[in-house]
């Protein structure tokens, strides 16, 4: 937020004015985007953790890391698409809980086929998100307040209807999918968990949406400057309703992944637990809270960074009760390093201009 003070023009990535950059290794590492910086930090962390704690690269740990990060990524996406318009969705977790229970209801109580249940759950998520968007556009109340209240409405409604009774008689195939993996295991590297593949596929879809579609461009235009977008004939209200519906559907997708992973539907997951992670991944990854800038790759890397640090600390047996302290410190350090790198790049560019 302090960036509003920097009156300097922002550096444009890969500017055509860049005269023959030096092709040394350091310059290659130091140039480029936030996402590239995060990637380097991630690689360094992985090397360090793998060397310090052999357990870190064990099949078991990697497998679990990838599966839990897959859910975090999709939760991050659910927040990211709303952040793109400069709004927020505090009800991602509540929609997630509703979707978890609804999917269980469709599969176990109604006995619907899995694909139908998945479609139904995604539709419910989209519907709840649509309600958010509709209320925001119609009342003009900002998204923070509307989704704060609707989070309470949604999870309250879920409690009334389910009385929090868990459903653990889901079809076996559904749970099996949560455990399954794609591709062969190579050496100590495990096969890629199906859930991670799903997260990547969703990421690819969003990447295409923002990079190669009209709708994605409209979302970014609305986020960067809603007034200019409206005055250019872009349907601002419809765009906002759409991102909230999309956010709801993504929250439902994350909920389905979680349900598959746990092989059961219960209300104690998601909810408030998703709130901070949903912001953490996109914002670390370079998505602006003020709207107009998103990074799908950054969100994936952001979620990976948080999970990597936590997993590394656990494997190293650092902290126990003190673990959150180290997690916060490491996170801050990682972001500082990336920030320092970006500042260095900006200085270099200015020097060469």
């Amino acid at each position: 937020m302090t960036s509003a003070l920097d009156a300097e023009p922002r550096p444009s990535s890969a500017s055509a004015m860049d005269p023959a950059p030096r092709r040394t290794l350091t310059s290659l590492l130091l140039r480029g985007s936030t996402q590239a910086g995060l990637f380097v930090i991630l690689v360094v962390l992985w090397v360090v953790f793998a060397n310090l704690a052999p357990g870190f690269l064990s099949k078991f740990n990697l497998n679990s890391l990838l599966r839990s990060v897959a859910v975090d990524i999709v939760v991050g996406f659910a927040q990211m698409v709303v952040l793109a318009t400069g709004g927020m969705n505090l009800s991602v977790g509540a929609i997630g809980v509703c979707a978890v229970m609804f999917s269980g209801y469709l599969m176990q109580v109604l006995g619907l086929p899995i694909p139908v249940a998945i479609a139904g759950t995604l539709a419910l998520g989209a519907l709840l998100g649509w309600l958010n968007g509709f209320a925001i556009v119609k009342t003009g109340v900002n998204s923070f307040v509307v989704t704060l209240a609707s989070a309470s409405l949604f999870s309250g409604g879920m409690l009334i209807l389910t009385k929090a009774v868990p459903l653990n008689g889901l079809p076996a195939e559904f749970g099996a999918f949560g455990k399954s993996a794609v591709g062969p295991a190579i050496g100590s590297m495990p096969a890629i968990p199906s859930l991670a593949v799903v997260a990547l596929a969703i990421g690819l879809g969003l990447y295409v949406l923002f990079k190669h579609s009209t709708l994605g461009r409209q979302i970014l235009a609305v986020g960067a400057n809603a007034r200019a977008a409206e005055m250019s004939g872009i349907p601002v209200d419809r765009t906002i309703v759409f991102v909230h519906a999309l956010s709801g559907a993504l929250a439902a997708a994350a909920a389905l992944m979680l349900t598959a992973r746990l092989a059961a539907a219960m209300p104690a997951v998601a909810g408030d637990d998703w709130l901070l992670p949903s912001f953490l991944a996109p914002v670390i990854g370079g998505t602006a809270l003020s709207g107009g800038i998103v990074s799908v790759v950054g969100t994936i890397l952001g979620a990976l960074l948080v999970s990597t640090i936590r997993s590394g600390l656990l494997v190293l047996e650092i902290g126990n009760f003190w673990l959150p302290l180290f997690l916060g410190a490491f996170l801050l350090a990682a972001i500082l390093v990336e920030r320092g790198r970006a500042a260095y790049v900006a200085r270099e560019q200015a020097r060469r201009a």
Binding site: K211, T214, A228, S232, Q349
Partner: protein, 506 residues
Amino acid sequence: MALTVDKASKSFPGVRALKDASLELRSGEVHALMGENGAGKSTLIKIITGVHRPDGGRLLLDGQDVLFASPRDAIRLGISAVHQERNLIPRFSVAENILLENLPRRTGLVDYARANAEAKKYLEMIGLVVDTRTEVRHLSVAQMQMVEIAKALSHEAKVLLLDEPTASLTGEEADALFALVQRLKAQGAAILFVSHKLEEVLAISDRVTVLRDGETTLIGEPMANMTRGRLIEAMIGRAERIAVVRPPKAATGAVKLEASGVATAAGHRDISFTVRRGEILGLYGLVGAGRTELARALVGKDKLSGGTLSIDGKPAVIRSVEEALKRHRIGYLSEDRKYEGVVLLHPIRFNVAMTIWDRLARFLGFQTAAGERRATEPFARQLEIRTPSLEQSVGNLSGGNQQKVSLAKWLAAKVDLLIIDEPTVGIDIKTKAYIHELIGKLADDGLAILLISSELPEMVALADRILVMHEFRIVDGFDNDRSYEAMSRKVMGAIHRRSDEAVAVE
């Protein structure tokens, strides 16, 4: 107090903003700083006021080297500026904005009674009549500009920098400001005056410094030696183009838009007019006459509360800007470039393509950056937007180039009727002439244009007919005979007649 900038340089990532620029400002003079948009004037001002630190060169105050860590240091040493951007706190009162860094206090708390009294003193100096307790966000743009000037005065500055202070002022207000500038000069202040309006500069400045591409091409030349032509040459590196005057033309195209008896919640009553294809219809009026509000109602941003519109001969209701664009082929180029014209975060091609995404979209709405580039490049080239690449963020462009991007967007949209609101405010001479020429050409190509401007010369040069708006009504209309004298008499006559009538009725 004398302020000297000696060979200052400043670079930003990807941009070399200043290169060995020099300036010498003496007390008791009005010194003009001129240059095209992007020539480095704002950067130079920001160095003088301590916002930026120069990469090289020296800053001297009365011969002593100085280094400002922040604007606070500059203010403390008696340097004060009225910047181009709106630099007021919207929810603070007029008095508090004026005295922000120097609020009078009693026993540690702000003494608002004294603050109001003090602020009033400065408002009186510039002849602005508003309650000092009003929140600034309730003021008009012109009033805000005056408050900014009052704020600079409150610093009792020895060096005063005015960056485009008259951009949003009416003629009378500007005259009052110039009178004040002369008074301050007489009191020994050094005044640096930045403006695009050559007439103003020639009228009130003693000396002039000119920047071109970050370098100083003239340093402190006495104004007495200058001519309009020499100034322009120093600024753009070649002689000025001949001012564009569109030949008079009778409107023969089909009627694109007909408004009859239009009324709005903003206060418009009984607005009726027609615009034909191939015609430039001017809508002249003072700031606050209700022109922009009318434009917004016409493109569906605000609701009509009465009257009807007919488009291409058929009755029409426009519910949104989207509908105006897509169904009725009407576009609106906003006067508020930064807030309504362009999306600063995004690249040029993104901005220009905004109005045509629907058309660019292929299967299921897919499209690519390459497609956008292909579609927008002709317009960027046609408008001579100065940039190395269409991927440049619009936020990195100068004001003139931003305006061109905003215009390119509407060229690309291929609308039938374009409402153009104050297209050349704060734009340098070269770009201005260019934009004038373009507007004429668009009309010749069959576009219907509704041109809103408070600059009468612009109106007289371009419009085929001129409607005069005053207090949310159209008070008169004339065919434009291209004679500035005659038109000016007619237009002002219409406005004053109306005001006199209002007085008589009361």
